[in-house]
Symmetry: C2
Subunit: 395 residues, 2 copies
Amino acid sequence: MDYHFSDRVKALKPSAIREIFKYAADPEVISLSAGNPAPEAFPVEAIRRCSDDLLREQPIDALQYSVTEGLPALREDVTAFLQKHCGIHTPGDSVLITSGAQQIMDLFGKSVLNEGDTVVCEEPSFIGALNSFRSYHAVLKGVPMQEDGMDLTKLEDILKSDRKVQFIYTIPNFQNPTGLTTSWEKRRGIYDLAKKYDVLILEDNPYGDLRFAGENIPSIKTLDTEGRVLYSGTFSKTISPGMRVGFAAGGSTLLQKMVVCKQGSDVHTNIWSQHVIHRFLHGWDFEKHLCGLRKIYAKKYAVAEKALQETAPLLQYRPIQGGLFIWCTLPASIPMIDYCKQAVLHKVCVVPGNAFLTDENTPCQSFRINYSSPTDEDLARGISILGKLAADWPV
Amino acid sequence: MDYHFSDRVKALKPSAIREIFKYAADPEVISLSAGNPAPEAFPVEAIRRCSDDLLREQPIDALQYSVTEGLPALREDVTAFLQKHCGIHTPGDSVLITSGAQQIMDLFGKSVLNEGDTVVCEEPSFIGALNSFRSYHAVLKGVPMQEDGMDLTKLEDILKSDRKVQFIYTIPNFQNPTGLTTSWEKRRGIYDLAKKYDVLILEDNPYGDLRFAGENIPSIKTLDTEGRVLYSGTFSKTISPGMRVGFAAGGSTLLQKMVVCKQGSDVHTNIWSQHVIHRFLHGWDFEKHLCGLRKIYAKKYAVAEKALQETAPLLQYRPIQGGLFIWCTLPASIPMIDYCKQAVLHKVCVVPGNAFLTDENTPCQSFRINYSSPTDEDLARGISILGKLAADWPV
């Protein structure tokens, strides 16, 4: 039958990345398109033992309905972690456990966006978040990314001229897709502008724990004295994305509204996984685990960098200090979309850069590669295929 | 700071049931207010072994990102189960795995409801679904429940006069909160009316597998030849609600739109739990497990019925044939809300019936009790306290 879809979803398209996954499912294709943590980064044995102990000791707690806000003990863990690792401690703030950080985008968008409201985001930015905001009929306005973060002049231009801006969406560490990190000066600048123009900030930090070079930069949330910043974190990159456990920290009035939305979305986050993560954080050395992750990613990134330099000199890329992504830019003579399509035919899958733009039709010469999921061999081979494809491109 | 919430969530209130849970958390209070499966109904040992095998044999599959539609093997299991148990097999239909059945309410509402559209529901009905539809600014119109389901004359009156109806929401088996089951004649009637007035049906069947008396009645979905009915099912009542795994079956065009919404909501459902359920369905005798559940619920319901008859004769109740809830009605001389408040002071927690109405201010003499979660002793004692409270009520 003919369905009459709501206006808000009529224009929504499946994520370009998800569509590309269809090619990536071909076992002959080297996928550099996912955002998956390295398989060797999962603490499998620890998780198995935490889960086994849990089901022997507290089976009903692990399997029964639970509260929407999240396991109280895990919320305390998150509070302690944020204070220790990020210096985040705002009186009156609270913590909500979510079904992955993606749900924070959804619940926050649902709570604060009316139709036609504006979200200011980095350009390019994380497609999953942009699509979530679009599903609430928001207007997205992009601020070009510079080496040290958003162009603050352009950010202020938008804030000054558009009174419908509800929030600024930023990924300050190892941004998806560019891998860029926002400097401390720009973090302060973003916060000051948000205050000046009275808008909220959604600070999305999925990759901050995966820094393998350079120095940590404090989060924007550390500047927040009034609940202006909603901080979004996740265990997806440090423990397991399949468990779907994220956490939001922010003003309690805001979080209470998000809790009401979450009741209607999925009642609560998988409680078994919440208990397992709580046990892992206590029974195992999480700091040591994070150090191990950073070593894994440093090593894998070195493989990618060597391959880029030695086998793909035509691809310009920005060196990264952490996270999962490398942003590559083609010479002006090679049309990016055609190149990405040819790459798939050569059995290498990357994500075309325009997928991350507020308007997909804007010209773009870049694409995103992920270095964490493939084996070292596939990673080097995939990059060399990309390099050869660029070198052989007919001019 | 002062947050500017979206219009859609401004009026949303925390679920009355969730609020009552705060009292229920007091260990001295006997909670007859939850909708929890009986703790003894969980197949703990089977789940523990399925999970342990999974993490030994396929750890990365269990912990890595996965596809939004759900684990393909589990989608096949659901298709086979629906065909065998419910006679549901519609060509062109498809199955989507969700984060509990609550997410089906959310994704379906998001996909088809514009602001001001109408949802026709049973009166009273499941508060979690109603709140989800409210969050998309829908207008709820209730059709009074009769012993055998919705009043079809009133249903047609609404469909005839209101051209903004998008769908009919119904829980045909052991309805929440009344425990009533819709007859086959009325199921046909609802389907015929939906067809006549070209509206969709959301058939919510969380309790159908928990029938301990009477004969199964085919689902409305078995009548569907055109994708008009979205069927909502869940493993929450048969395996574990803490895992948050539900499933929707319906027209593939509709489900594709819901998949795009789910990408923005939580990417995918906890994949570990999906694998565990798939293994449980294959490695263990699910039919036997369901038989065991029905025995547990029959026995517990007998305890409740005996207590109601012997110790609470002033409470009128409707005998049930399955599900989790009993709907009790007070004599006209006892004000229901005051009675429920007094019950909490007497350490028994129930849900006031007006919480399930489309307009909470409508007069209501009924309240909902759950017989599945408390121990037999607490159940009998709780009901006798309710009975004494009614008998002693000052006139």
